[in-house]
Symmetry: D2
Subunit: 137 residues, 4 copies
Amino acid sequence: MLTKEELVIFFQNEFPQTNFIIESIGEKSVTIRKNINQEHLRPGGTVSGPVLMEMADLALYVAILSEIGLVAFAVTTNLNINFLRKPSSEKDIIAKCNLIKIGRTLIIGEVSMYSEGFIEPVAHAVGTYAIPITNKI
Amino acid sequence: MLTKEELVIFFQNEFPQTNFIIESIGEKSVTIRKNINQEHLRPGGTVSGPVLMEMADLALYVAILSEIGLVAFAVTTNLNINFLRKPSSEKDIIAKCNLIKIGRTLIIGEVSMYSEGFIEPVAHAVGTYAIPITNKI
Amino acid sequence: MLTKEELVIFFQNEFPQTNFIIESIGEKSVTIRKNINQEHLRPGGTVSGPVLMEMADLALYVAILSEIGLVAFAVTTNLNINFLRKPSSEKDIIAKCNLIKIGRTLIIGEVSMYSEGFIEPVAHAVGTYAIPITNKI
Amino acid sequence: MLTKEELVIFFQNEFPQTNFIIESIGEKSVTIRKNINQEHLRPGGTVSGPVLMEMADLALYVAILSEIGLVAFAVTTNLNINFLRKPSSEKDIIAKCNLIKIGRTLIIGEVSMYSEGFIEPVAHAVGTYAIPITNKI
């Protein structure tokens, strides 16, 4: 399992434009955060759907790299997201990911997303990443 | 919130052909069980996918009726299921459902399914039920 | 590509309890039919959701076997279904499947389901099957 | 049904930051385009997943507004996306949306996305929008 510091350096080098914070790394799980500002809002003063979709995808990616290491080039094959409540325009979004299957070729996880400080999630996603066979020696 | 006994009687009367056991009813959650026998298996000696899909749909339905009562005629609008591991052909299937959004017109829940006695789920589903507007006055 | 006759014999031998009719086999596509009777209905006089989920899964499976042959042991990994309209209790269900990706390890297809004779679908599904690596040499 | 010109003006006014082109409006269908440049790419030289998710969501939204008018405040409730092939980094992304259910409270559509000039889709999505009850009288 990778440390939080190793993951932070990887994302700084490889995805410098991706703007998020790794909060914590656990057993098959991660928590990430995104600072919300004007560019992430949509009319009506709420966080736009694509920002939440990107968060879900990122949380899965961080959890998978943490679990299998940085060598594998994992790609998303499926993402299913339900939007549950209107996120606050003034709070960060927190995404908590748990991996529910770590297979040889497929890794599946679920992600709950929250406006910081609220108990009920604003969105819930389940996603699948494929691990290319050629990466697995 | 309905009691387990009220739900058992409802399903005996309205869905007599549906063969499952309500194990427990909690806060926005239920656990149901299905006895697995030869008719539920597919070649290779495992529980067939449609049996798991039906369990997911049923667990959601029981959780929703428990929460909003028997009057509403709820219908599934979306079900997304991931098959994670091969279920045992010799164990009952246990489905645990948690409702993650109870709205006026849509109720969303997630379901984890297990071969009895195993820690890791065999399948995971997220489903949405619509509550007809005409039922809600 | 397998012929319709080869597929019919395969399902008679391997899945004798699965009750459906292969209507036609095309380029990356199949059409199947299920005769609807009392056992497939739910209260309210409509075809139950699990019957439609099973049809979606079957249509995908037939399309995949037709395309890659009977040797591979394909398993469903994900199925997402939307229920669109109340099916007729007096009409057969017709399921039309098109494969949209045939990869080395994953095959993805979509399925539209109809009450026979109607233009608008009663349900729409998208599903993914995994092809075990060990089967592919 | 709204004209393409009415929709273009609506998006310029309400979503000025959303950068896409409405190509054509049809019967329950639309085609939109996004110019791809450096900011939309991810390591490996391909269009990032969140760009495709945003395209799917947008194509659905345009199709829905075209069908029911600009008054309703529609919100995404579910989006399921499958990533099928690696998009070209040098081609625009074209998204074609067809609505498959236009109900009183839910509208469901599917979206196929392509790198311009290619026949096979790079991604396929199915999404549901909810139409608030209060908007419909």
